[in-house]
Symmetry: C3
Subunit: 266 residues, 3 copies
Amino acid sequence: MSPMKYSAMLELIRQNKPLVHHITNYVTVNDCANITLCIGASPVMSYAWEEVEEMVGHAGALVLNIGTLDPYQAKSMLLAGHAANKFDIPVIVDPVGTGATRYRTDFMSRLVAEIRISVIKGNAGEIGMLAGADAHVRGVDSGDVKGDLRGIAQDFALKTGITTVISGPTDIVSDGSRVITVENGHPMMGRISGTGCMLTSIIASFAAVQRDMAEASTASLAAFGIAGELAAANTSGFGSFKTALFDYLSLLTPAELARDAKIRIL
Amino acid sequence: MSPMKYSAMLELIRQNKPLVHHITNYVTVNDCANITLCIGASPVMSYAWEEVEEMVGHAGALVLNIGTLDPYQAKSMLLAGHAANKFDIPVIVDPVGTGATRYRTDFMSRLVAEIRISVIKGNAGEIGMLAGADAHVRGVDSGDVKGDLRGIAQDFALKTGITTVISGPTDIVSDGSRVITVENGHPMMGRISGTGCMLTSIIASFAAVQRDMAEASTASLAAFGIAGELAAANTSGFGSFKTALFDYLSLLTPAELARDAKIRIL
Amino acid sequence: MSPMKYSAMLELIRQNKPLVHHITNYVTVNDCANITLCIGASPVMSYAWEEVEEMVGHAGALVLNIGTLDPYQAKSMLLAGHAANKFDIPVIVDPVGTGATRYRTDFMSRLVAEIRISVIKGNAGEIGMLAGADAHVRGVDSGDVKGDLRGIAQDFALKTGITTVISGPTDIVSDGSRVITVENGHPMMGRISGTGCMLTSIIASFAAVQRDMAEASTASLAAFGIAGELAAANTSGFGSFKTALFDYLSLLTPAELARDAKIRIL
């Protein structure tokens, strides 16, 4: 993966404007729509059982985000996931709050078992819970257990075949064979609502044009992280930071992505 | 329709602050609430079957937007639509995604058949589908089929009695007898999420004070378009553009609306 | 309550980052999440019957906001409220639109009867309806009936044991024994969507670290009002004002809160 590849992927998104179908929470859904547009893709949100499979048929990628899961939406996600598998569309999963309640943990187990997932993206606690790691992983800052987290990501990817992304001060990507770290980003990204969800939408946008899911995820982390760095450098309060995050991602050029990405393949 | 009328309508909204009842999608609902306030009206969102008819009774206009339609909301829309018809309150419909799935297309057919709709506002593909135009209209840029779109809008308005708005680089309004174009706006408005939905909320705000639906729609397109031009001239990224769009609409004076509206009655 | 106490409370929120569980409307839910982060607490939104009680168990306070109440959510609120009472977590209620429909008014009566509520926060009309005050209170500007509103707040608090907050040009807080006014704030706060809901989230954040609910509410009104004053002084349009409101609250220091709070204990 040379930096040039990342810039080519970003160019491809902006040329093809792939449709990214979301079934997601009601808290950050607007942020997901706008960040998808900022990276150059086209968002659609739809969850009615009557149409969700047909809508997936138009899409280049599917996001399933369980941030405000309820039983209606849970069935929508399964219907959409099966349809995406049938049409061979990548499924990108954000297991928000896995570990916080049995309901979310159980649903994630079911999703992993029933649906062929391309990428799963969570924080250390969420991925740790999914991977069955010791409970002490929950809520732990990834900075404290860096070595373990890489192992957890790689083991989970190997066991499940799902490209695994652990976001944190140092982001980790593994598809089982490779382990990659991304050092872009800024702590401010953790202080506003929705950046985790937005990242998932960006990964789906890259996944719609790049079938190597580790590459798609790595490019996403770098692009979003660079936008976060620029936003933090040019604002102070939380409101302006969020506005600037959309601005800098929408203005990010393929050349800047290639130049400023801080990626290490381990 | 002289420019003075548009300024008088805007003044009337800001004096009367009409209540605009929305049943709308969960993606852009906050944008709809805020844009309604920016133009000077007052938004309310409510969809529970237990209260939706009673809430309509307080309103000056009703927005039905099918962006994330589900069966519960579909019934809410029918209940609210019938109540609005009973109370003689204008019903403004945004047929988001009509043509993308059979579910949406079928529901729109039902809505058009059962509810007396005042204005329907969509892009070329959505209105084309509703009008039963050739499938090639779907997704086609209105710039390519300008002549046809005017005809489609006028024919659909004539056939249904619904004032028809096709948004695009050149916006088209027809109530069957008149065909009007509005040249205000900026391509940036198509690059962020929610501008289509916001336009519908603005049309409803004007419709609450002006019973000539072609005039209400035309004023809305001009007002929102002028705000978009100013926002685009003064920002670059998507986040700042959106913030500025709210700013300029909230600051738009009746005199500026009369001066800068680019309207042609054909 | 000396100004120093308010600054100590704000410091405590930022140290402890209490989890504030919301069951709230879909219009302003993102604003609630972000304002909770701006004050220094941590938001979580969850309403599925399967998990809502378990999620309450992690929280430091619970927000119940009926802005877009439906039957599913109504049951979620009762489940969460009972769980909060069991765990002795403060319950902060925003009775949005009480009086506008029988459905909302009836549900609020049930909530007040079944759940031990810590704070209820509404405008003059909403609290007036709840208190069974004469119908003319509905929609009346609190400036016109200042004397009555203080009495209504105190009487309702005495009768129910619920700390009662009436927001308006002069905000009123009463726990039955004390009546407190807060003069911070700016009319612009009433011109954008969501500030009422945001205030409720802020009260819940303070309530999670301060068990004297009148103090928690008073500190919230002052903190949010100061942010509103600064935002209004530095912006003009509605979009920029909203962004600045988040900015100034996120940047508000405990010392500034103590210095600029305009509080009177009557």
